[in-house]
Every structure is written in C-alpha cells, then in structure tokens.
C-alpha cells in the first residue's frame, strides 16, 4: 500500500507569523490507501500545516500538490472541492439539529423550494449504513454520544470530499470501545483508497493503526518513516529532538536527598483527568515531571494546586492531613504555581509589572489589607533587579513584555509570597535562549535555598539538568520514577516510550 502514488503532497512549505516561523521548509506526503500519523509536541507546527492544507492559511512559499498537480487552496470551501475533508477535535456540528440535517446542511435535496426531508433522511440512512451506523436520523444529534457525533462528522467529511481525510485528535475524548469503532471505520476507508491524516498524542494508537509517521518539531520536519520500521524509542527521540547517542548526563547536579519530605500526596487523583498517584516532595529538592503532551503533566499540577481539586487521596503537609480544594487553600499552605499557558492563566495583561508581581501576595493578604503603593514599588523593584526583568519601568502593562520577561514576572509573583513548594509548568516554553538559561539557574538556586520545587517540562535535557528525582508520566498516570545516577535522558525516554502491558506494537 505504501507504493501507491501520492494523493496529497506539500513540498517545501514555509509559513511565518509575525516574527515567528511556524513552518520551515516542510515536506509531507499522503498516499492513497494509507493512514498517516502526524505527530509533534505543542507548537511543533501540526495545526499550521493542517490549516495550510485546508486553506485556512495561505503558505508564504512552497507547493501543495493533489495527484501531482500543483493547486492553490484558496479557502476551506475550495479545499473540500479539491477532495480534502477535515474533522476537527471539537466536532463542528450543530447538536440541536437532526443527524440528517448535519450530514446534508448546505446541500439539502430541495423540492418546490423546500427541503425534501424524506429524501434527505433516506440518503442519510444510506450514508450511515456504510459505516454500520443505524441511527434515527430525524432525531437531534445531541442525543448521541461524542463518539457517534465524531463518526457523523467523519461520514459528512468523507461524503463531501472523498479523497483525503484529516482527523485532528479524533480519539482525544473517546473511550477504548469507541476508539475501536472509529478505527474499524478508518480501516474500511483505507481499503477504499482514502488517504487519511491522523493527528494524535497516543503513541500506542499510532502503532495500532497507522502505516506511516511524520514528526514535526519546532516547525521543521523531524522525520518521516514507515511505522513498521520505526521502533517506538526512535519515534520518541524524533518527537523530543534528541537521539540516544548524544544522551549524556554530565549537566546533572547531584543533591543530597532531603531527610524529610514535607509534602506528601498519597493516591491523589481525579477521574477523567489523572490516575491516582503517590508523590513526596521535600524542601531542597527538585522533582522533575517528564512525559509527552497529554500524558497528564498539567493535570498533575492542577490537581496539586487545587484548580481541579482531587477527588481521591490524602495530602499531608509536615505530617498533618490537609485538604486542598481551591488555589487559595493551596496558597495558604505555601504552594505556588506558574501555569503552562502564560497568556491565559498567568499574566494579567493590562495590569502593570508592579501590580502583576504583587497580585498573589495581595490576594493572599485579603481584600482589605492593602499593600501600599510604596510597598508595591519596593517589592517590584526588588524582583525586577534580582531577575533582570527587562522593562522600561514597572508601571508598564505586562502584556508589552517579551515572553521570557513575562515568565519572570510570574515567578516573581510567587516568590513574593515566600512559597514552600513551587510548581512550575513548562517554565521555559516560548522564551528566548538567554532567559531560558536564567530560569534554569534560578530553579537551581531556589532549590539550594531550601525550596521544594516540582518542575514540568517537555525538554528532557532541562529536566536532567535540575531534577533531584524524575517522575515519568504516560497515558494520564504516573508510571515510574528515577533518581540519582539513573537520571539520564535515555532512561527517561525509555520510560516514556515503554508500552503498557498487554498491548503489542
């Protein structure tokens, strides 16, 4: 099947957004009769590539070819006419309309200027029967499960385009059984000669159903290979951008393990978010959290900090049982969290650098005990100097600062509260090299000063550089822990790639 001629190909595609190269000379080919996995961490360029293919964005340069013919995809409508159908992660259907309406909206069969419902429902039944779906097509789509809605979306996309099908994380909200049904249909479509692009974060599913894999990293093509010829460990190294050969641990800093671990989480978890896990952190150590996107990294942070409160497990601090149901409670026990999504969960864009730095401390002090402007200025000045936050003055709205400086402002916001346990979720994402090094140095220094740190990162080198222990996550559960001499990139990658029991690649 891999010898089939290419159905859809992009050659040397470039796409830049303001000051940021989203796609850098990317090649990508989908053949008829194959399921092609498109992988990459957040910001690797997957969505941009899909948007270029479906006409949402116009490429800056490069070719898109269908059946070897160069085409210019003008807009999404045009992409559909060219035979490229897309099903997005959030199903873009109308839940309050009938199944048949959803399948044929915009192209309903008409009679005497009215929609011929009878014919439309007949066609809908015929269409869905191809997928062994026997639904009441006249009833509202919202009556059916997300999985069925997804299948309806696929049926619609296939019926309208009929050549290439792009599925953006179709299994993200499906359970095991529903995923099986979806896969059966994908296999059927593959047999009919479709080229299917399958975007996912679940590596097991890649090996279960995909014929070929393409990996993007930082907007560049990291590699493309037949699934059967690519061991899982190599796939992980493609995604994370390192190979086992260069994996060293000479930057690793050994710290004595703390005698007491003051923060103890036992069986803490939240259903549909993160499986129960045990975690102990002591003051003066950095616990690194490694894992691929979607493995439960951020979910772990949210459960610990009370944003999505845990529904099972016990938390002990200094040996005393405590409850953490809200961020306020977490903060009262000396927690701090620098969130992954700096823009939506971190900075308050229109407020000044000064106000952003003082916010957590002020929130902790309460509504009526106001930090005077003078105190705020002293505090902000101190951190601006200590962290070398580059801003013309502390009254500047924080949204005008660069990503790295914004990250430092949020770090300063938490350090102003004198936290005992600081959780950092991707502290170095999207910031320039200089600020990157400064933040890593800061993590090491805070740890030496006796703070407990939990650092989540997708950069394995980084985790190795500062962690006293490393917890590895896979499929929304904590699957292993490394400490001391074992903290080397190859070990972490092996644990990330390891297959769950009972499933073979």
């Amino acid at each position: 099947m891999t010898d089939n001629p290419s159905l859809l190909a992009v050659e040397n595609i470039n796409k830049s957004f303001i000051g940021f190269k989203a796609l850098d000379s990317v090649d990508f080919t989908v053949r008829g009769g194959e399921i092609h996995a498109l992988l990459g961490e957040n910001g690797a360029g997957k969505s941009t590539l899909i948007k270029v293919l479906t006409g949402v964005h116009q490429p800056d340069s490069g070719l898109i070819k269908i059946d070897g013919q160069a085409v210019n995809v003008r807009d999404t409508q045009h992409a559909q006419n060219l035979g490229i159908g897309t099903v997005y992660q959030e199903v873009n259907l109308l839940p309050n309309m009938s199944v048949a309406d959803n399948l044929f909206i915009g192209r309903q069969p008409m009679r005497f200027g009215f929609v011929n419902r009878k014919l439309m429902e007949q066609n809908a039944r015929k269409l869905l029967a191809q997928y062994d779906l026997h639904l009441d097509v006249a009833s509202d789509l919202s009556r059916y499960s997300v999985a069925v809605q997804q299948l309806v979306a696929i049926a619609r996309a296939v019926d309208m385009s009929g050549r290439v099908l792009i599925l953006d994380e179709p299994t993200a909200s499906l359970d095991r059984h529903e995923t099986e049904i979806l896969f059966a249909i994908l296999r059927q479509l593959r047999a009919r000669g479709f080229g299917i692009v399958f975007i996912t974060h679940f590596l097991d599913q890649v090996y279960e159903i995909c014929d070929r894999v393409t990996v993007l990293r930082n907007g560049k093509l990291a590699g493309s290979a037949l699934t059967a010829e690519l061991p899982k460990i190599e796939l992980v190294s493609l995604m994370l951008g390192r190979t086992l050969a260069v994996a060293t641990h000479d930057t690793h800093r050994d710290r004595p393990a703390p005698e007491i671990r003051q923060f103890s989480f036992k069986g803490v978890g939240r259903s549909r978010s993160i499986a129960p896990f045990d975690l102990d952190i002591g003051e003066g150590e950095v616990v690194g959290i490694a894992g691929l996107l979607g493995s439960g990294r951020t979910e772990t942070a949210k459960v610990l900090f009370g944003i999505d409160a845990a529904d099972t497990g016990q938390i002990h601090i200094d040996g005393n049982p405590v409850l953490i149901r809200t961020p306020q409670e977490a903060i009262s026990y000396g927690f701090g969290l620098c969130p992954e999504d700096r823009k939506s969960d971190g900075i308050i864009g229109d407020l000044s650098v000064r106000e952003n730095i003082c916010l957590a401390l002020q929130a902790h002090m309460g509504w009526f005990d106001r930090l005077s402007t003078k105190q705020q200025v002293i505090l902000a000045d101190k951190f601006v100097k200590a962290f070398d936050i580059r801003t013309t003055d502390i009254e500047k709205p924080v949204k005008f600062l660069s990503g790295g400086n914004q990250q430092k402002v949020i770090l300063a916001r938490w350090l102003a509260t004198n936290p005992r346990l600081l959780i950092l979720d991707e502290p170095t994402r999207g910031i320039d090299v200089g600020a990157h090094a400064e933040i890593i140095a800061l993590i090491n220094q805070l740890c030496d000063d006796g703070m407990a740190l939990l650092v989540i990162s997708s950069e394995i080198d980084e985790i190795v550089a500062y962690s006293s222990r490393v917890v590895v996550l896979r499929d929304r559960s904590h699957c292993g822990e490394l400490s001391g001499e074992d903290i080397i990139p190859s070990n972490i990658m092996r644990m990330i790639a390891a297959e769950p029991e009972g499933v073979s690649a």
Binding site: F305, I307, T326, P327, Q328, A330, I331, L337, P339, S344, D345, G346, I347, I348, G349, D350, L351, E355, C358, L359, A360, Q362, A363, H364, M365, G366, W367, F368, D369, R370, L371, R413
Partner: protein
C-alpha cells in the same frame, strides 16, 4: 504625585472638555444657566438642577462601574429601582417607620444584586443574560408589590430624601456625593480596586493567582443592587409615589453609558468611579440643556447620540496616541521649516 495628577488630568481631558462645551452651549441657549440663588435655605439654579436630576444615574453608575470593570454588565438596575421604590412606597403607606422602610428597601436591593451575582459567579451565566432575567422579572415583582396601581404617599420623612436639603444642598446630591466618596475610598484604600481590575482583565489568571473571584463577583453585583435600591428610593421620594412600570425605565442604559463615557471599557479592567460620575453629569447636562433651550425633546436623543459619538471617538483617538502623533508631526514639520 503632581506628575500623576497631570497624567490623570490628561486622561480626563476629553470628558472635561465635553462637559465645558455642553455647559457653554447651555449658557448660550439659556443665559441664566450659571445663576445660583439661595431660597428658603436651599440652593436653586440650573447647575444645581443638573446635579440633582443626575444624582440617581450617578449612584447607578457607581455600582455599574464595578460591574463593568469585572467584565460584566448589570441590565437589571432599572428594574431593581422599581422594586425598591415600590417597596418603600407600599411599606410607608402601610405605616412602617422610616428606618425600617429604608433598611428593608436597601436590603431588597442587596438581595437582587446577590441573585445576579450568584447567577454570574456560581452558575457562570453570561452577565448580560443573567441580569436580563431580573430586568424583566423585576418589574413584575414591583407590580406585585404595588398590586398594579401607582402607590402614592405623603410621609414627609421619606419625601425628604427626594426634595429635602441639608446645609442648602439638595439631598440627592448629598447622597450621591457621599456614596461617591465612600466608594472611591473603599476601592482605592483597600485592595478591591486592583482585584476587581484583575478579574476583569483575566479571570482565569486571577484564580491561578489565588483570588477568590467568585466571592468578589458576588460582592460586586450585590453592591450594584444596593446602589440601584438607593437610586430607587430617591426617585420614589421625588415623585412621592411608586410607579412599577416607569420608575427607572431605561436608566440601566444611562448608567452603562455614563460608565463608558467615563472611560471604563466594556471589556473590563481599568476603571475610575469618579470619571463614571463625570459621565453621568455630562449626560444630565445635555438633557437639561435641551429642555432649557426649548428644543423639542425629540432632539434630545439624537443630540445625545451625537455628543456621545464625539466623546467616544476622541477617547479612542487619545488612547491610540493620537495627540502624541499630531504633536510629533507638528514638531517635525516645524523643525524642517527652520
């Protein structure tokens, strides 16, 4: 500090200039506009009248500013005024003593605000929808209280709130000024101002920083309801009666307008209660001016729209750095000439 004041003054320039212009036009239309005289121990004059008539909207605008700064809106304030007016009138007619009437009425306003706050903060309804419920239901409640008729009263102690005066100053102005001072002091002397702006700009990030944004929203809406009840008492006392259908009708829009004219963005964030009050005074100065000038009142709405467009355009012009741009252009041209 003086630098800060200069900054504040520059920012308030469009509003101050508009107010001066409107006052000047009023003077042209009615030469006696600036005359103020003392009669029976109370100040009289068109300027006093502007403030007196504007007091209810100033009071509404104070509460509305906090709501809008939190990235919300309260459409129910007009209806809450009707409810509180109806309650005050009915209880007075039933013979309850004044302090009980006032407390019950303000309490009812607080309850209305709490209801809005619960819908917005805890049920995550969009503010415009959540408060629309009470905007509609409130008039029904007011009619239930008055049993469908216009309830009039003749209790001097309650009427005093509408037409009385203290030290020569009419009561509505005194009440509005007092509330203004208290609100500004509380908001800027405590952390509430910063925290309200914070949840208005980015509620998610504020929650991550440990703000109890739900409770804060609840308090904001409750305060707005309280302000509406206060305005409702003044209006009822002024007309010596409660009209469930017409008391406070459309005043929610005037209050929102006052806040926007005052420079607080409907997208939440930075706010100034004082500027909102100034916005309310601008609106009332226009209304009074048109009435005095003898124009048919139909022109009122159109003129109002025009003036508001001018104020809003000049605001976006100066916030986009328009003046700086013009100054720089002018200076560079000037330099070239030399």
């Amino acid at each position: 500090m003086s630098l800060l004041n200069v900054k504040v003054l520059t920012k308030a320039m469009p509003q101050l200039l508009s107010l001066l212009l409107i006052l000047f036009l009023n003077y042209l239309a009615f030469p006696g506009f600036f005359d103020i005289r003392l009669q029976d121990g109370r100040l009289f004059g068109s300027l006093i009248d502007v403030l007196n008539r504007g007091a209810p909207v100033i009071i509404l605008a104070i509460g509305m500013t906090a709501v809008i700064a939190s990235r919300g809106v309260d459409l129910s304030v007009g209806a809450v005024m009707a409810v509180s007016g109806a309650l005050a009138a009915t209880m007075t007619v039933a013979g309850y003593p004044l302090p009980i009437v006032i407390l019950a009425t303000l309490g009812a306003g607080l309850l209305c605000g709490l209801w809005n706050g619960i819908l917005v903060a805890y049920f995550d309804l969009q503010p415009i929808v959540a408060t629309l419920i009470l905007m509609v239901a409130g008039r029904g409640i007011a009619q239930l209280i008055t049993e469908g008729s216009i309830v009039t009263f003749n209790e001097p102690s309650l009427i005093f709130f509408g037409t009385g005066s203290f030290a020569g100053i009419p009561m509505p102005i005194l009440i509005a000024a007092l509330l203004l001072i208290i609100a500004i002091t509380v908001v800027r002397r405590t952390a509430l101002g910063l925290l309200i702006e914070s949840i208005g700009i980015n509620r998610s990030a504020s929650s991550y920083a440990g703000l109890n944004s739900k409770l804060l929203l609840l308090v904001i809406y409750a305060f707005c309801g309280f302000c509406a009840a206060l305005a409702g008492i003044i209006i009822a006392a002024d007309i010596r009666g409660a009209d469930a259908n017409n008391a406070g009708l459309w005043l929610e829009l005037d209050a929102i307008l006052a806040v926007v004219v005052g420079g607080t963005s409907l997208f939440g964030g930075r706010f100034s209660i004082l500027m909102s009050a100034l916005g309310a005074i601008i609106i009332q100065a226009m209304n009074t001016g048109i009435l005095l000038s003898g124009f048919p009142p139909e022109y009122n709405l159109i003129l109002k729209a025009l003036v508001i467009i001018v104020i809003l355009l000049s605001q976006s012009f100066s916030s986009a750095g328009g003046w700086t741009f013009i100054k720089a252009e002018f200076l560079s041209k000037g330099r070239k000439r030399h």
